[in-house]
């Protein structure tokens, strides 16, 4: 069992009468890269700021390396943060920005210089020490912000949507670099984003949140293929959610189509099936084969995207479908087709109180 770094126990937070964080429980192990993912207003930034100490939880406790910190002022926690707008001090050079935290601690000058040098080397900023933030590009500013946090050797590194101000290409590069450095020095990192592709590509663990409630905590694969709630299924990637009726212990029905599922279903409960667009085939004729489900539909719209064609369909129950056909060649489907998917590609989600 790896060392526990951070624990959040029964955290609740109110802004006036709004209950913005509801009974949050989490534990983080050393060296993990954790992402808080959710739409804006889900409470992910509030949670991050509580760990940094800019907000105080109204209920619950936060433990850093076993010590309670939720009453400790932000400047006495070792939780360096990279801000969304970078928050570089405009009146200080790159060197002074990175050295700031160390000099506040009153470390000897030569030690400060040494540590700053290491951090700048790591972020490939050597030679820019004397520049000022307004003389740097967005990507460079971002690196300085990360260096300024790294140099503190934080117990946990907090990143608040740090890539949202970069253009798409740069975002990808920085993503790889950031993950690389984090793994190299084994730094526990919490990353806040609303961008699911960032979350999926970088994290060891993703925490999916909505309206202050945690919907699921899991690895990127679990989150993507085995969502706990219909919200998670819908928010991560694209999916087709089908409301189904219970037929038997392992059997559900969508319209006239019967689907066999692995999980045991209970006739008293409601369920949906989540089928990813890339798991679906389109055929001109109905397919009647063991282990495969077939639904009749009509193509309403199609988009050629290069590596795939995305079809939008409407089935006989007036439900909209999204289907991705990869390696499509030049022939495109039109008109009435059959939507075919393997039973084991359909993930069953039980409706619970988290889904509205």
């Amino acid at each position: 069992m790896a060392e526990l770094v951070l624990q959040l126990n029964e955290i609740n937070k109110y802004f006036n009468n709004n209950h913005v964080i509801k009974n949050v429980n989490m534990t983080f192990e050393k060296g993990e890269f954790i992402t808080f993912l959710g739409p804006s207003g889900c409470g992910k930034t509030t949670l991050l700021r509580m760990i940094a100490g800019f907000y105080e939880p109204d209920e619950g406790e936060i433990l850093l390396k076993g010590k309670r910190i939720d009453k400790v002022p932000p400047y006495n926690r070792n939780t360096a943060m990279v801000f969304q707008e970078y928050a570089l001090f405009p009146h200080m050079s790159v060197f002074d920005n990175v050295a700031y935290g160390l000099s506040v601690k009153k470390l000897p000058q030569d030690e400060v210089a040494k540590k700053v040098k290491v951090a700048l080397e790591m972020m490939q900023l050597v030679g820019m020490e004397q520049r000022y933030p307004n003389q740097l590009s967005g990507g460079q500013q971002q690196r300085v912000a990360v260096a300024r946090a790294l140099v503190m050797d934080p117990d946990v590194l907090l990143l608040d949507e740090p890539l949202s101000n970069l253009d798409a290409k740069l975002r990808e590069t920085v993503r790889v670099e950031l993950r690389h450095i984090q793994q190299e020095i084994g730094l526990t990192t919490i990353y806040v984003t609303h961008d699911q592709s960032e979350a999926l590509s970088m994290s060891d663990k993703i925490v999916v949140m909505k309206e202050g409630v945690i919907h699921q905590i899991g690895s990127p694969q679990e989150i993507y293929f085995e969502p706990n709630t219909t919200f998670v299924a819908d928010f991560i990637g694209t999916t087709n959610l089908l409301k189904v009726e219970v037929l038997g212990e392992h059997k559900v029905k969508y319209g006239a189509t019967e689907i066999v599922v692995e999980q045991t279903v209970d006739s008293g409960k409601e369920y949906s099936l989540s089928i990813r667009p890339e798991c679906i085939k389109l055929t001109g004729n109905a397919v009647d084969q063991e282990g495969e489900a077939c639904v009749k539909g009509k193509i309403t719209e199609k988009m050629f995207l290069g590596e795939k064609v995305r079809y939008f369909l409407r089935d006989t129950q007036d439900k909209e479908w999204v289907v991705d056909i990869f390696d499509p060649g030049k022939t495109l489907f039109t008109g009435e087709v059959y939507i075919v998917f393997a039973d084991n590609k359909a993930w069953l989600i039980e409706h619970n109180k988290l889904d509205d």
Partner: protein, 553 residues
Amino acid sequence: MTMKDTGYEHTGWRMELKLLLREPPLLISILVVFALFGIFIIYPFCKLLWVPTAADWVRAVTGKEYIQAFNNTMFSSLVATATAIVFGFIYAYAINYTEMPGKRFFQIVALLPTMAPSVVSGLAFIMLFGRRGFITWNLLHLKVDLYGAFGLWVVQTIAFFPLAYITISGVLKSISPNLELAAQNLGAKGWYLFRTVTLKLATPGIASAFLLVAINSLADFGNPMLVGGNYHVLATEAYTQVVGAWDLPMGATLSAFLVVPTVLVFFIQRYYLEKHSYVTVTGKPVAGLIRVTVGKKAQWLFFGFCSILSAAILLIIGVVCLFAFTNTFGYDYSFTMSHFIEGVVQSSVMKNSWVSAMVTAAITTVFGIALAFLTIRKKFPGRTIMDFLAMLPVSLPGTFIGLSLIMAFNEEPFSLTGTLVIIIIGMTLRQLPVGYRQAVAGLKQIEASLEQASTNLGANSIVTFRRIILPMLKNSLSVSFVYSFMKSMNTLSTVIFLVSPEWNLASVNIMSLSDHGFLATASATAVGMMLTIFITFGVVKLILRDQINIFDL
């Protein structure tokens, strides 16, 4: 869970207090501020209201001459304010919206009167249009008496025009040119554009400027004293009661009456207009867009208007200089330095003014920024009260502040009457809102995330203030330093009750010298004052090496 009890109180004062107790240096600073406010604002003002008896109040509201003075004050300041605002608006519009030649020149000329006490326009009026005025007597050989309401109107209009111009120019600058370009793009032009967009957007700001000028002209002391003649206003009446009749309670009563309209105006401005304003005066200007919304003909009209007004201002300054450096202007035109030597070099008043204004500027700048840091960035019980008290003196007439201070501090344990300290306290109270407001505007432009980043890296509030906030506010601090220095040098009404034979000030000297007919020495003192202010600006600029141009204020 024991936590649950306080869990719902996050934004309440109990939670704020709890957070405050966790950071003792902050708590101490807040207590110190409240203690200072208590001693220097609340206590003197209560004292002033406490001194007059019920009989004094009755005497004041029934006395014919007092009612007359009240009506005179209202009427003259309303008329002067309205004229100054109209002139100020036209001038500001011409500078911000036309491409007329000489804009830079007009800008500088409009600000020249702010370098000298407003009473200098009264002095110039006497010298030009008085009973032995250069124009009325020497040139036109007229025997007219322009003292009274008319003279006061002319003098106050000129005296308060720069304030109106500066404020309205700030409002016009903060209107995004994009809005007017959009209106032009939609086909609006000329008068229609002005009426439907520019004027509509500027109206709340102009109303604020109106009230600001109104407070100043209601409280004006020097000009009514010099050119009012038999036209008495509250400020001069209070002064006569105190200095002439030794009737301190009546002086206090009349000062208190003067406070009623000014405080009313203050509340309207602060709690109504600021909430209904479309433009924030702190907004960053949109660079690079030039708006030209008037035609060629209108442009020359504006040019003519600005030229006439500038000529009037230059005439005032010119006549002051001529009187200062000739033996007896109008009769003996030979050059002399004797007035200057008498009024400036050999007199201690200039040094006294300089020292007290410098100290005041330093205190208001530092204290203003500390106050702003507390009220803007920190949450604690009593924050709005602190903000209110810091802004309140802006609405108080100088005579009221001065009188309340001598009443409060003329006996042990605070026996300060007749010292330089009480002068500095008076000036500081008067200028505090300027330093405070400037710091608030500056702080609001600093992203809160910068401070959070500093805290996150291990710095507490005090370290963050010293290492992040202060350096970033350097420019706006030097503006408020320079401005409050200038205003303190020039203030007359605040210090009129506070000066003593031992500690006299230049602005007071200008007034009393003019009042007693020593026009040349008064002029020389005024010139000395302008020179002192200019030289000080130059030195401050060299020391701070900032980019600030006083003419862009």
